[in-house]
Amino acid sequence: MNLHMTRLPLLFAGALLAASAAQADDARYAPASALWQSECGSCHLAYPAELLPAAGWRALFASLDQHFGSDASLDAATTTALLKEAEARAARRGSGAPTRITETPWFRHEHDEIAAAIWKRAAIGTPANCAACHRGAERGDFAEAQLRIPR
């Protein structure tokens, strides 16, 4: 009994550590395939597939010819390969089929302390410009240590 009592705080601390480590890991994404990097990274950051649910990716890849105001159409084989990668890595949480990462409840929650005026700064321009503040975004590193909001 005595032994059990002394161990309990240790276990607790261990659990806390594990939780914070998992959170830190959440902000770093494994590198995407070379195909993803080149096809999804020509016009904008090759956003990590983890940032939308699979249903969102399916909707997005079904309408590449009307992709947020641009034609981003691809041949069928490339589209299929990219969708497969997206589905394998997609967010497990979230409902519906959102196609705009910045409109997901997750994104809004993560950025709820950023005032509207900050988004409009010349060096940022749009919430879609991850790399303006997340200096490691190009390599999938969104950890707070890499965060710097430009003036």
């Binding site: 016009c43 904008h44 034609d71």
Partner: protein, 139 residues
């Protein structure tokens, strides 16, 4: 050995000749010739590529908000910037960026997409021929 050698040569030549048309690299000059030939097939009155016409066409809007120059700048020897996202775009002129106009599949993909964005339709072979001629001119 002497028996093997003669048939190898034509085979190699055939392979080399085949590469540009299928999966491999193509010179911008060969691309220009392909588009020009297509343009003549589409329109017998097409007189051949005009860099001046291509340059004017590159800089003007075609009914929408964007021109080619909106992203590639009016001087395609310079790097550009995506008009919507702001992401840097490497220079489009092969003289400034040797990787440009070297991969036919890539050329087709980006003409298809960007022509739909700028002209709300695919480009004609004559337009492609003229604009490639423009991109091949000295800065």
């Amino acid at each position: 050995m002497t028996l093997v050698r003669p048939p190898l040569r034509p085979l190699l030549c055939a392979l080399l000749l085949n590469l540009p048309g299928t999966a491999g690299a193509q010179t911008p000059q060969a691309l220009l010739e392909t588009f020009t030939q297509q343009a003549r097939n589409e329109d017998r009155a097409y007189t051949g590529p005009s860099a001046a016409r291509g340059g004017a066409w590159f800089r003007q809007q075609h009914g929408g908000d964007w021109s080619c120059a909106s992203c590639h700048t009016a001087k395609p020897h310079n790097p550009g910037r995506h008009a919507a996202t702001g992401k840097p775009i490497a220079a489009l002129a092969p003289a400034a960026n040797p990787r440009r106009l070297s991969d036919p599949a890539k050329v087709d993909k980006w003409f298809r997409r960007n022509c739909r964005d700028v002209l709300a339709r695919e480009c004609t072979a004559a337009e492609k021929s003229d604009v490639v001629a423009f991109l091949l001119t000295a800065p």
